[in-house]
């Protein structure tokens, strides 16, 4: 009898607890396999760190935050199906992530159809916050207009006049080119683009392009060649002394430690670029705290930049839910508009009209440091859109 009563009591308590403590589910999609894994895996790690931290401090509105994670496979149609699955089967309240622009746009479309908020943490396509903008999509990553603007500013700052534009021939590269060209008259009215070359996305052999740039006699290169493209270019161009007399200004995040730490002595001179994060530089105490937590999670102090983006996405999602005091999508969307949060790299605000957060990046030249095998950025300037 007592035993039955105990069972009933536990059951009732459990039921009461369950209904009050139904977890908040956040869906996360990043590429975890294939070519995008270089970025997606660290981004997911940053995402997970944020989840752990939030749950450690009591969750969201007293409820546990549960992360439902999936590989987006860098395939828009597959990502579209997977996101629908997250919404209809796993019943997530909000979705974050994406990497490739096409995937981001596909996910945005699902968000629009299913009326669930999607925060794009990495995709940079300008379309997402312009012609494809709708109520339920937001972006906390940077975008090509801003990167182009900063690059043009650097062209002016370094008084470069004859430019070679080197962009990958796909949406991001073309958008970045447009961003640079738009901003050049403002910062460097005397600068002219003497040569524009567009290697294909995924190119591994840059020999058709390197001699052309060297022969053009430019004093500066503006480029969006990112990751493996930049590394391959460097390996192939360095034997020819390519970087000796030319300034390479890049919006492709090649100042990140992932690149510098890997190229080590091979990293060339005269490179000025950007990155979302530098593990060896903290803006303030909270930034340092984030870096230490991430270093502990990944088992190394030399953490990749993409983790920051995954981290910020979660914090924005949670901040919006707490402001709206609800998990209803429309309420979350309303809360996100104009929402300001404190991120490790400073205060971020989402523009209510464009749904774009004013996230900045660290920009600066990459120089050799005594006692270090890899180059570091110095001086470091955090440049943020207004």
């Amino acid at each position: 009898m007592r035993f039955t009563a105990a069972i009933l009591a536990v059951g009732a308590l459990g039921a009461a607890t369950a209904s009050a403590q139904e977890p908040i589910r956040i869906g996360a999609m990043y590429p975890l396999t294939g070519g995008g894994a270089v970025y997606g895996v660290p981004a997911m790690a940053g995402h997970q760190l944020a989840i752990e931290e939030i749950n450690a401090r009591g969750g969201v509105m007293g409820r546990k935050l549960v992360s439902v994670e999936r590989d987006d496979k860098m395939n828009p149609a597959a990502a579209s199906s997977t996101m629908k699955e997250l919404i209809t089967k796993d019943k997530v309240h909000i979705v974050v992530g994406g990497l490739a622009s096409s995937v981001g746009l596909a996910m945005s479309e699902v968000a629009k159809q299913e009326k669930v908020v999607y925060i794009a943490t990495i995709p940079k396509t300008i379309q997402m916050t312009t012609d494809k903008l709708h109520r339920h999509v937001f972006r906390t990553a940077s975008h090509t207009d801003f990167e182009g603007d900063t690059m043009a500013m650097l062209v002016g700052k370094h008084k470069l006049t004859k430019l070679c534009q080197l962009q990958l021939d796909y949406a991001y590269g073309n958008d970045l080119e447009a961003g640079v060209l738009k901003a050049l008259p403002k910062y460097a009215p005397n600068a002219k683009v003497a040569l524009t070359l567009k290697p294909k996305l995924g190119a591994t052999d840059f020999n058709p392009f390197i001699p052309q740039v060297m022969a053009a006699g430019c004093d500066g290169v503006v480029s969006g060649l990112w990751g493996p493209h930049f590394v391959s270019w460097v390996k192939q161009a360095k034997p020819l002394g390519f970087f000796d007399k030319i300034k390479w200004i890049s919006g492709g995040e090649i100042a990140s430690h992932e690149i510098a730490g890997e190229l080590k002595d091979d990293y060339p001179d005269n490179v000025i670029s950007n990155t979302y994060e530098l593990w060896y530089h903290a803006q303030d105490a909270s930034h340092k705290a984030f870096q230490e937590a991430l270093a502990k999670k990944l088992g190394t102090p030399e953490t990749p930049q993409w983790a920051l983006l995954g981290y910020i996405g979660v914090h924005y999602a949670v901040a919006a839910m707490e402001k709206a005091k609800s998990t209803d999508s429309d309420a979350i969307a309303g809360a996100l508009e104009g929402l300001t949060i404190k991120s490790p790299v400073g205060t971020l605000t989402i523009d209510p009209k464009t749904h774009q957060a004013n996230i900045g990046q660290f920009w600066g030249p990459m120089v050799k440091k005594p006692g270090r095998a890899y180059r570091m950025m110095d001086p470091i300037e955090y440049i943020q859109p207004k």
């Binding site: 396999t33 999936r70 395939n75 828009p76 997977t82 622009s101 746009l105 479309e109 949406a171």
Partner: protein, 309 residues
């Protein structure tokens, strides 16, 4: 005329599918829609691979043409569905006809590689013709007729379209035309001796495969409300070929089973682990080593029919 038991079995399957939405799971309905589309895609390829014996590495081209055409006509030009969809199928069939004309002059691996070359050209066009296709950003926001905007309605629309298409393919594959294709597959030279214009037969098979592939593509683009260049890339062609091989290319229903199994495996492994390639790879490995005739071979073993030569 198909056997009575087959007709009854098909009717039962269609009936069960029609009742699926009543179970109330949105996800199950979506998943089944996807499986049906891939099943049609795989069946269309099998006209070429299983029946005619010509492996194509570029079948995604016609899938993509069908998908993009339908999506573009619906969205950019505001055509009604009743015109856009047939136009998509027609264009896919037409391009398949042109490409096939050149490809059938080759055989075996050379044929396969030429189909790949043409398919990658289609991909290149989709990539670069940004103003029309959206390029690598994709063509998102495809406008569906209001009636199809609901997932259950779209499910029924797909069910009806795919069922009709499969019935048509059945008739084609079991007609004199289909049997002649098998003859061409089994012994090209001998078929020629008995008066079959093997080249023309293979060309016709290529075109039929392309047209039905285009239909699958149109359904796909509308379902996803978007078409992407990844769906024209050789990896998409490889995937549908794997579906055909997995199911068993010497039976009519093999590709349907292969499509269902592969797609469901991909979805479920992704739900469970980021190491889904390992799980999927192991399962495929076991299947291929234990069932070299594909999954249909398993069914045949139970039926005691043994391996069809």
């Amino acid at each position: 005329m198909p056997r009575r038991s087959y007709l009854i079995a098909s009717a039962v399957v269609v009936l069960l599918l029609a009742l699926l939405p009543l179970a109330g799971s949105r996800h199950a309905v979506d998943l089944t829609t996807e499986v049906m589309i891939y099943a049609l895609f795989a069946l269309s390829l099998n006209v070429l691979v299983g029946y005619t014996g010509n492996v194509s590495f570029g079948h995604a081209a016609y899938f993509a043409i069908g998908g993009y055409t339908c999506a573009i006509l619906l969205t950019t030009h505001g055509w009604p569905l009743v015109l856009a969809m047939p136009a998509a199928v027609l264009l896919a069939g037409l391009v398949a006809g042109v490409v096939g004309f050149f490809c059938v002059r080759l055989t075996q691996i050379y044929f396969a590689m030429l189909t790949l070359a043409f398919a990658m050209l289609v991909w290149g066009v989709a990539f670069k013709w940004k103003e029309v296709t959206g390029g690598d950003d994709g063509l998102t926001g495809v406008k569906l007729p209001a009636m199809l905007a609901n997932h259950v309605n779209y499910f029924y629309f797909t069910l009806v379209s795919v069922a009709i298409a499969i019935a048509a393919l059945w008739v084609i594959c079991h007609s004199a035309f289909g049997l002649t294709l098998v003859a061409v597959r089994e012994n090209n030279v001998r078929a020629g001796f008995i008066g079959v214009d093997t080249r023309r037969m293979r060309w016709a098979a290529f075109t039929v495969a392309g047209a039905f592939g285009g239909l699958a593509g149109a359904l796909f683009g509308m379902y996803h409300r978007g078409m992407y260049i990844e769906n024209a890339f050789w990896t998409e062609s490889a995937q549908v070929l794997i579906m055909v091989l997995l199911g068993g290319l010497y039976s009519f229903v093999g590709p349907i089973i292969g499509a269902a199994v592969l797609h469901l495996l991909q979805v479920f492994t992704n739900q469970y682990t980021p190491y889904w390639p390992t799980v999927l790879g192991l399962i495929l490995l076991v299947i291929v080593l234990v069932l070299p005739d594909g999954l249909v071979g398993l069914v045949n073993r139970f039926k005691g029919r043994g391996r069809r030569s």
